[in-house]
Every structure is written in C-alpha cells, then in structure tokens.
C-alpha cells in the first residue's frame, strides 16, 4: 500500500523520485506558459486565465486521484502529508505572497521555470525570493509569535465545512467548472474575442468534466476497503460456530510474568479508556485504527503472540477477528474484560478465614503475579535496555 516511501522505497531513493517529479513539474509548467510573466499576471487583469485553468484542473485531478486511491485502498490517506494550519500566518503569508505576485509577476516555481529558459526577470525574482527568505530567517524572532499562533494541526477543509471528503470533491469540481465557464466569458470580453469554442473542444471538455463527476460518483458509492473489512467481521461475528483462541486472565498473567518479551498485549479500546487503566505492558491499538500501517508489523510478526482484550467480549472479539483478517500473527483473546483483570490482580481482596485451599492458592498466585508484574513494569520503565527475563516460575494456581 502506498505511499511507497519510506517502507518500500528508501529515503535515499526518494531524492531520485524528487528529481523525476521535478522534471515533470517543470516541463508541464513551462509547456503551459508559466515561464511567461505576462501570461501569469493576465489572471489578475482578466486577459488570460491560463493560471486558473491549469491550477484548478491540476488540483481537481490530483484530488480526485487521491480520493480514488484512498477508496480502493492502494493509498493510505492517513499517512500522506497534510499541510498544518496556522491560521494567522497562513493568511498573512498568503496576502504578502499575493502582493509579491502582482509586483514581481511570478511565484517561486514559475520564476525557476522562467529563469531556466533564460528569462532575466525570472532570475531576478528567484534572487529576490532568496532575499525574502533571508529576511524571514534573520528576523524570525519578530515573526515567531504570529508564525506559531493559532496552530490547528493538519485539519482538512471538509472537516471544517462539516462534510465528507467526497462531498467536498463534488463541491470543488463544480466550483472549478463554473470558474472555467465564467473566466472564458471574462476573457472574451476583455480581449474583444467573438470566437466560439469549436465543436470538438466542446465535446472534449464536456466528456472530461463528465468523467470527473463519474469518478466522484464511483468514489461515493464504492464501499471502501475499510468498510469491506468491517462487513467481513460482522458476518463472522454472527456465526454461531465461530471459534476463537481464548485465554483466561490467570494464564495471561503467567505469560506476562514469565514471557513478557514474547507477547504483545493489545488493548483495542479507545485511548482514553487505555489511559485510565490498562494491563501491564499493553499497547493501545483502538479497533478502528487497527488497519493503520504502523500496526501491520505487529499484526504480521511471527515471533510474538498477540493477546487482545477490551471492556467487553464483543469489542475484544472484533479486534481479534480484525487482527486475524489483517495479519498472520498468532492471536489470542482474553476471556475477562480489562476491569475484571484489574479486579483480579490490582484490587485483590484476601479470602475470608473459612476459604478453601483452592481459593487460598488462587489468592496467593494472583498476589504474587500482581507483585511480579508490578516489579517488571517498574524495572522496564527505568531502563531503555531490555531487562533480562526473570526465570522465576509461579507455583500453584492454575
């Protein structure tokens, strides 16, 4: 699953990819006429809207592609870089850039293109942008407050507008289409152009825009890979003959004390619940986040055994099943809920005086296991190096 860097392609190779992407970028920008300052500035005076056409078409194309790839499950959208939002600096920076655009007649990418084919004004702009960056670097303390204010993180516009990604996709594509039509009307007026679009172009443009909307509809109706997986889990859950490898709490406690380095204890509850209480050495993989690529290593490894637990059997089973569908590791499910585990080991109450021998044994076992687990957790917390496994065997109990 993409993105290919850094898991499938190395970071070194990534620089070669950068070079290739740049060649494509530069080639298309120059072919589109972005090396000409008059063509660029035409956008602001209404005589040439090439910039808007190229820019919007590129943005819509890439956006639909990203959505489509995400939907069919070949690109993990949770991993791609989302420019973080810093409200004031984004607006102030954008306003300064707009002023620079109208005075200088370029933006950084286009000025590099222009300079590459020998335009001296492009070269001057590149030189100027170096000065501007230098001013920022040297004057950073002056800008710092504004630069870091209103940090919203990598928020998405569709979230801000309260709509789904695909709805925003429809919206942006529609806006682009309207903009193309309007700007053509403006262009014709400013340039005193009476010409009509030739028929073959009309057909081409309408099929292109139709295709874009068709893709968007497809994205909207296709179940994504995540939903398909959920459906499989749901079917598995209602089957009565479902068998799962279950372990009782005492068995798991024994494993923790003796073999903590050979097991993963996976808490599939929410991060908040995990924070409130979790089993010793447990890691938190909320069930809905399980297909994130960062966990695929754990769900696919062969050296450790995975134990799943939650607050209730249903959630734990869901996590267990999902892990089985996603990976190849050996998985088990804890019969008890996390609160039961807590009761059994952390809130141990001594048995009454008339307790049977068996009850007493169980109590002693759990007391020892609880102490050992605590010791282990403390020992590992204080050192980054792996601690040599304790060889003490728990006696008695199960």
């Amino acid at each position: 699953m993409a993105p290919l860097v850094p898991y499938i392609l190395s970071n070194e190779f990534n620089l070669i990819v950068a070079l290739i992407a740049g060649i494509g970028f530069g080639f298309v920008l120059e072919q589109a006429g972005f090396s000409s300052t008059k063509k660029l500035v035409g956008l602001f005076y209404g005589y040439d809207f090439t910039v808007l056409k190229v820019f919007f078409t590129a943005g819509v194309t890439a956006m639909i592609g990203v959505l489509l790839f995400g939907q069919i499950g070949i690109l993990d959208l949770s991993l791609i870089y989302i420019n973080p939002t810093f409200l004031w600096s984004a607006l102030a920076g954008g306003a300064i850039m707009g002023l620079g655009f109208i005075i200088g007649g370029f933006c950084p990418g286009t000025s590099v293109c222009a300079a590459s084919i020998g335009k001296l004004d492009g070269l001057a702009f590149v030189f100027g942008s170096g000065l501007g960056v230098l001013a920022f670097v040297e004057g950073y303390p002056l800008f710092e407050k504004n630069y870091l204010a209103e940090a919203w993180g990598p928020v998405l516009i569709n979230e801000k507008l309260g709509m789904s990604k695909v709805v925003f996709g429809f919206l942006l594509t529609t806006i682009a289409f309207i903009a193309f039509v309007l700007t053509r009307l403006i262009e014709k007026r400013v340039n005193n152009d009476q010409s009509k679009l030739p028929k073959n172009k009309v057909i081409m443009y309408s099929s292109a825009i139709g295709f874009a909307f068709l893709l968007l509809i497809l994205i909207a109706v296709l179940p994504n890979s995540g939903r398909r997986l959920e459906a499989r889990i749901d079917t598995a859950l209602i089957r009565k003959d479902l068998t799962s490898s279950e372990v009782p709490a005492d068995k798991l406690a024994t494993e923790i004390v003796n073999n903590y380095y050979r097991i993963n204890i996976i808490d599939v509850r929410s991060p908040d619940a995990f924070k409130a209480y979790h089993l010793p050495f447990a890691i938190n993989i909320p069930v809905e986040k399980m297909s994130d690529r960062q966990w695929s290593k754990i769900l696919n490894q062969k050296h450790k055994v995975n134990y799943f637990y939650a607050d209730n059997q249903k959630l734990a089973k869901r996590g267990y099943l999902k892990a089985g569908f996603l990976g190849k590791a050996e998985n088990y499910i804890l019969i008890e809920s996390s609160s039961d585990f807590k009761k059994l080991f952390s809130e141990l109450t001594p048995p009454g005086s008339n307790a049977s021998k068996k009850e007493l044994n169980t109590y002693n076992f759990r007391l020892k296991a609880a102490t050992d687990m605590k010791t282990l957790v403390d020992a590992l917390k204080n050192s980054t190096e792996p601690v040599i496994a304790k060889t003490t065997k728990i006696k008695g109990g199960c």
Partner: protein, 172 residues
C-alpha cells in the same frame, strides 16, 4: 524559429495533476518550490557566516532536522528537476534565449527591480505561510488541507486586491 504555441491549459493542468498525484502516491507528500530557496539560502548563510548561524536559533533547528546539510533536501532535488524539465520544454518549443519580459510602459530596469521586490515579498510570505503556490496552495488543495486552501485564497485574493495599484507595471 518561431516559438511553438503553449499547451492547452486544461491538458497541462491534467498532466500537472497526474505529476502531483504520482508524487503523492510514491512519496506521500506534494510538490513545492519555496522550500528549496530556503535550503540554498541557509546553506549560503552557514558557509558565509558560520559563527553567526550557530547563534541563530532558526538555522540551528533547521540544521538539526537536516543532518545531511541543508542541500540534502527533497525540495532541492525537486527544483533541480524543475530546472531540467523547464529547460527541456523550452528547447523543444523554441523558447530558450536570454530575454526580459515586461509591461509596455516600464523600462527594463524597473522590471528587474519590481521582480526583485516581488520575489522578496513572495519569499518572505512563503516562509510565513509555510509554502508557496505549489507547496501550500496546489498540493494543499490536492489533499484538502484547510491551511493550504486558505493560503491559496489569501494569495489570489490579495493579488486581485492589489492588482489595480500596480496596473502601470503591466498594462498599457
């Protein structure tokens, strides 16, 4: 030879979109330009005034993020590609040559000065806005970043707002 005509803007946009999509697919990030200028500037500052850059917190933290030096940066390689790609495009379309483009009513000198001033503003703004038309606006739109899209609106909004005052630079 006469320069060839420019490509149909929608076709160019579609191709550019594919380049961007391919980049996101392979690397998980979009395109950019101003970041490369920053790398080169920082490299120059470090070379010319090592003492001074060691005392500038901004440069120090940048260097820590770039253990291979400021030039071993994705965007630097990408912009080298842009130079190659644009030059190649210019060659096949007969557009290469030393030239200076300006509005009809200004001198070459004015045009160069305006380009430097405009460039400086763009350079400064791109740092404040964390990316320029390519990195913030275009790539931001592709991944639906809120920050990228408001930066885009601010760039073009401000361009239109100021266009009237600088019309003498461009129009008859």
């Amino acid at each position: 030879m006469k320069p060839n005509k420019y490509m149909n803007p929608y076709l160019a946009g579609f191709l550019l979109g594919l380049v961007l999509l391919g980049t996101i697919y392979v690397t998980g990030r979009g395109l950019g330009a101003s970041g490369a200028v920053k790398s080169v500037v920082l490299k120059a500052v470090v070379e010319v005034a090592p003492q001074h850059s060691a005392n500038t917190p901004f440069i120090k933290s940048y260097n820590e993020e770039h253990p291979g030096g400021p030039l071993k940066d994705w965007l630097v390689f990408e912009v080298i590609g842009v130079v190659i790609g644009a030059f190649f495009s210019g060659v096949i379309s007969n557009r290469v040559g030393i030239k200076l483009e300006r509005g009809p009513n200004i001198t070459n000198r004015t045009r160069i000065i305006a380009a430097i001033i405009g460039g400086s503003l763009f350079g400064l703004g791109s740092q404040l806005g964390r990316g320029c038309t390519s990195g913030a606006a275009l790539s931001g739109m592709a991944v639906m970043s809120f920050g990228g899209i408001i930066t885009m609106i601010a760039i073009f909004g401000s361009g239109y707002a100021f266009a009237y005052f600088f019309r003498k630079l461009w129009l008859k």
